[in-house]
């Protein structure tokens, strides 16, 4: 059984040898380069565009503006259900008569080189009529605010009202009300985005390299926009230097570059530069909460009452409002609170549009809820873990229906023994162990948080498993891989069932040319959904092999076993036939036995090949996690050092502990970035002021504390056959909450630490006057 084995990642070999192929490594003969001319204004009317001078420049092939795309071309649609109709806020691939954020694509310039494109861009005359920029969602919804869209700036105003929050608040022994703010930040993958599109006009075939994450979904969107058949378009994911939820959505460029290639009948490549990336990639988070939490005198939380405002930026993109939707649906977290009310306002501003980023909505909600619970504990004088202990959903109440929904799917925590995991986490870290409160003038504090994390979302996933005539196995997966180690864990699943070594199992993914349908990678779904499809397909291969051998050798299936890549009769020393031999028998047209030759239809002679599509569990499967951290804070400067970090979680079953651990540790690093450093700030006039790595701080190796993990496999979810839960987002999801609580503990502060990131200034402002 190689499931659960601590195998190093198979794909690392090529990365370490420098043999990875990223989109910028690709080139084609006659290839030209594209450049996206973007708005310098956050909000303006476009009176006219004159590209005539640009077109005269030697080497320029074309300048495409909104006037060049088909008049009936609609905007880029949401791929996910939304709260209410967000269609008035969708973005067209090229700005029509108005721009709404700095960086909005206005034109695509195609030339022999990127340098020529950039020179040409300076020759494009655009007559702008600037409008006032709105960068604050609160300003945006003031009555006199300039409407950014005709439909108004308040895109959504919705919520949930469960139980009787008013009554609970009235009868509460304790209430705490706090405001929290999670700053705008987003994914900064090592590799920026990029596309290489080529079009074979003779055969009407369009091939796009560089697409990632949800290639089949994007192909469908692109086919609709270009008026092509889906099967005439192939989207291929090369190697990818990070995705984290933001990369691989259908962006304006995902239409524009294929469109240009098709129009010009030349391969067109576009490689995003880092400055572009800052303004063009979906931003994320940017959510404010006002949280009221009520409890009775026994420390039982009786209500959450929440107001959430999320800044959506200038347009609604493919993710719709999933970030506030997840936050609103899951706010109560792992606690058995039946009185829950939230009002969510999604607001348009003149900033880059937003989308998901690893643990979307969860990082935000966890921070607000867990900080508020610490405040409640302080107010009650109750130990912080104890307060949580009293409120965790007990195992016997599983599955727990929150009563909310997100993306039209009910929020159901499907499985887990949260109290048991919580106790193991506390014991594992030594939560109760005493520690020095002060060291060389620095103050030490300890914080924790508890949360749930969804995984395995999405309607379906599919795989095709093929065994060739020599017994080699190939997995064709509908999923994608942006560094999660799929090439390893998917092979492990198959290896476990058909007993072929991982080295003989190739994993192909992220390519619409290899499988008709695919879901893709998001929401920590591949192990859960693709895993299940593979489990079924592997058993299909196994059954087919045993039945074939049974028929050939006239031995009952019950006496046969599949191991070491061959079928054996129980108790014999020599295999009967290899899997390759079975594959040869099952070749279409092979007249060998099974079917009489007169039977011209040969459904059983369709190879040692099995395709499996499985349907996801509507609510996905939810992991429970606890983060604990020790920090040292300098009360004189506000500087914070994370001394050690601990993640405990119950993931059902680990496919590969090395990869689980890597996901958790990497996720913590990313969470620390969002907690301390990363922030996309705008000036009042709508310019991004942290648009380079000089201004936008990323965590580095010096910021990384030692991270230890405790991965539990106590309760297997019943919703998938492997009993797994996704772990991709557990790492970042609780970091701001645990760190905020730890700093507050260090400072013994009951103010501040509600606004991210925790810059030295903000930490300093939370230092109680008496300490300072």
């Amino acid at each position: 059984m190689t499931i659960g084995a601590r195998i190093p990642r198979v794909e690392d070999a090529r990365f370490l040898r420098g043999e990875g192929r990223y989109v910028a490594d690709l080139a084609m003969p006659f290839m030209v380069e594209a450049y996206v001319l973007r708005s310098p204004y956050p909000h303006a009317i476009i009176r006219s565009i004159d590209a005539s001078e640009a077109l005269k420049l030697e080497g320029v092939e074309a300048v495409f503006t909104a006037a060049d795309v088909p008049a009936d071309l609609g905007p880029i649609v949401c791929r996910i259900p939304t709260h209410g109709d967000l269609s008035p806020y969708l973005q067209h691939p090229l700005a029509q008569d108005r721009v709404r954020y700095v960086g909005e694509p206005i034109a695509v310039i195609v030339a022999k080189s990127r340098a020529i494109c950039e020179d040409a861009a300076e020759l494009v005359e655009i007559d702008f009529d600037p409008l006032p920029a709105i960068t604050s969602p609160y300003r945006a919804i003031e009555p006199n605010a300039e409407p950014i869209h005709e439909a108004g700036n308040l895109a959504g105003d919705w919520g949930f009202d469960l139980g009787n929050v008013e009554e609970a608040l009235k009868s509460a022994a304790y209430t705490v009300q706090e405001s929290f703010s999670v700053q705008r930040h987003t994914a900064m993958p090592m590799e920026t985005r990029g596309l290489l599109a080529s079009y074979d006009r003779g055969r009407n075939l369009l091939e796009v390299h560089g697409a990632t994450k949800v290639v089949h979904t994007n192909r469908n969107m692109l086919a609709g926009m270009l008026g092509m058949s889906e099967q005439d378009i192939r989207l291929v994911e090369p190697d990818v230097g990070g995705s984290f939820g933001a990369r691989g959505e259908f962006y304006p460029e995902d239409f524009l570059i294929p469109f240009a290639a098709k129009r010009l009948c030349k391969p067109v490549r576009w490689i995003e530069d880092r400055v572009e990336h800052f303004g063009a990639i979906n931003h994320s988070r940017d959510s404010d909460f006002v949280v009221t939490v009520a409890a009775d005198e026994n420390g039982i939380i009786t209500a959450f009452d929440v107001k959430l405002v999320t800044d959506m930026g200038g347009y609604i993109r493919t993710h719709g409002d999933v970030v506030p939707s997840h936050a609103a649906a899951c706010f109560p977290g792992p606690y058995k609170v039946r009185n829950y009310r939230i009002n969510t306002k999604t607001v348009m501003t003149n900033k880059t549009p937003t989308g998901t980023y690893r643990a979307p909505g969860m990082f935000e909600a966890n921070f607000a809820r867990e900080r508020a619970i610490d405040r409640l504990a302080d107010k009650m004088g109750l130990e912080r873990a104890e307060l949580r202990r009293r409120n965790l959903i007990p195992a016997e109440m599983m599955p727990w229906h929150v009563g909310t929904e997100s993306v039209k799917r009910p929020t159901i925590f499907d499985s887990g023994d949260y109290p048991a995991v919580f106790e193991k986490a506390l014991a594992g870290y030594g939560w109760d162990a005493p520690f020095e409160r002060e060291e060389n003038g620095w103050l030490r504090g300890r914080g924790l948080c508890a949360f749930v994390e969804p995984s395995g979302l999405g309607a379906f996933e599919g795989v095709r498993l093929e065994v060739d005539q020599r017994g080699n196995v190939t997995i064709f997966s509908g999923s994608s891989n942006q560094g999660q180690g799929h090439e390893t864990v998917l092979a492990q699943i198959v290896s476990s069932i058909i007993d072929v070594p991982v080295e003989k199992i190739a994993v192909r993914h992220g390519d619409t040319g290899i499988i008709t349908f695919g879901g893709g990678t998001y929401a920590s779904r591949t192990a859960v959904l693709c895993g299940e499809a593979l489990y079924n397909a592997s058993h299909g291969i196994r059954d087919k092999a045993l039945k074939t051998a049974s028929a050939k050798f006239n031995i009952p299936v019950e006496e046969l076993e599949l191991r070491e890549g061959a079928v054996w009769q129980a108790g014999k020393n020599e295999p009967l036939i290899t899997l390759g031999g079975i594959a040869r028998i099952l070749m279409p047209g092979n007249p060998e036995f099974l079917k009489p030759p007169s039977d011209k239809n040969i459904p059983d002679h369709d190879g040692l090949v099995v395709t499996s599509y499985i349907r996801g569990v509507p609510g996905g499967t939810w992991a429970f996690a606890v983060h604990i951290a020790d920090v040292l804070v300098d009360p004189r400067t506000g500087e914070t050092k994370v001394e050690k970090y601990f993640v405990a979680c119950d993931v059902g079953r680990q496919l590969n502990p090395l990869i689980v651990e890597g996901q958790l540790i990497g996720g913590v690093a990313q969470g620390l970035g969002g907690t301390f450093l990363e922030e996309l700030t705008y000036s009042e006039d709508g310019q991004l002021t942290t648009g380079t790595f000089a201004d936008y701080m990323m965590p580095n190796v010096y910021n990384m504390p030692p991270v230890s993990t405790l991965v539990l496999e106590d309760v297997k979810p019943e919703g998938n056959v492997l009993g797994v839960k996704g772990v991709g987002e557990i790492g970042p999801s609780g970091v701001a909450a645990a760190i905020g609580n730890a700093i507050a503990d260090a400072l013994k502060s009951n103010t501040g630490l509600n606004i991210l990131p925790f810059t030295p200034e903000r930490v300093l402002s939370a230092v109680p006057t008496v300490t300072r």
Copy 2:
């Protein structure tokens, strides 16, 4: 019903616009060019090869010799069963210690350009020890002949002996014995062969463009030779400028170029030049017959007694001995002759190896048999058509088992009313109409021949049919297309059944990446086998669509119909749902009806997609054809003009009469080339003396007579659901026979005209002395 419609070829649009993509049009970054260094000797020992000087040349990347390929790499195997074991005669991709024909690959030179390769080739020092060359099969099997292979020069000596030939000969009223010779010639496609191979070492993926005809078979062979998984190799057929049976087999280059790409980790392209083509492509025909035909006094043919010698060249290639095998299996043709004996000798010589060429073995056998029958008629004083009439297999004797077999499949003429077709052919042409025997000193003659032609051979074929969410249809075919019009006729079949216009149906083929298994194109098989698979797949789509609509609208299937790309309730004016709508419902994961959500396995929600593999009828399906020609011969010079040409055949059912007609007319042109012009001659010392188009004559537009066709659909074969027979080889198959008989008729000659091609000298030598 678009089956049977006279639709212009869909694929022609791109060819006429210059948008075809041939392998020489393809290029890749960092691509290098390969050149095959070939033997200048027909027979020699290689003492040593020294490439050190060549490797010093600027721009040279590598020189690969036999020493560089894995020591355990075997030769290229036959893909078809053979008479006896021909494995001692197989060819290694690179000559080992001996060369056996001029043009045999000895080394592969890879460099920045072809020119550098050619310069480098001159620097490779090879120490040859020349051996005597044997260019005549008769010389080769003399006892004292130098053995070309250790196993001896007589590769095969086999035959059939049916009925009692000795007795029939003894009791015959008439016998005729004649010798016939069909010269060595072969396919000269406009486009020479070529390959572009690239290897992604990081992902272990090898992609080869330029492969054709049997891409899946070739992939399997390549995988074995490179020790790779089949699924790690993709073979892609670009557009192809002609194949005719010779192009697309697995040649030495089909290993060498991918091998070089994999070894160098660079894209490697090899484009065969015309001189190379002459010596490197499989040669064909090159068969001598001695035919004895016996008849009783009523003109009933009582026996064929045949000796066949086929010159195989220096090695046995992928086709094995299929050319003499077909000739031997089918020699009796459409005649009910039960006493049949043949001895076949397949002989190795120091010439280019041989393989199939359009109508392999049939062109040869038809020539020998039909000329002999004319001789018999002359001897008996019986009208030539009348003699044939008396001997044709009558309809009631169908299916006719000849009693022979070829490639391990029995020779069974499955269906047809030969006598009826024969009479229609005679009437259609006006066989009995009087004509002027002389005109300006030229003599006019009329000749005919009758023959059968196999089609639809091979074990299986497969297709996958997909309908996308917008109702576009794509056929993924396991077959290949080298100009036969598959993109049109395959779409017609689908269009007929699901009533979607041909313009909305794309056909993809010749690519191992699009379907797991495929048969490919040879033996006039695609209409028959791929057609049947598509018929089944189309009905599968139809059934799925109707069942889905029935479930959705709760209307019995019997009340539904599929037309105009939608499902309609009978008698209603509006469609219920489009095919695209059905496809959306059937998307994996769609929760809509059909299956309860608790059913996580969704076998029915696997798209509006159907894969169909069908098994071929073991003996294929056989067409019957009659060729008739009028010729004018100048008895003073031997010059011959073909005045008019007529082809009648019974093909079961025409998918597209325009394409059938094109196939027949094009085939006649090719047959005329083999009849009058094309010959690969060797000097006694083993050098090809017709190795350029200055020496090797091809027919051109001035040689083309008006060709009329009579395509009958009288009897549908029962072996395939569409009732079709292949027509690809009917055109050339009878030309030499009909022309030979016409010239003999013109000259009233009873000598000569037994040796092809009919050069003026040979025609002149057949002019009776009295006429001359």
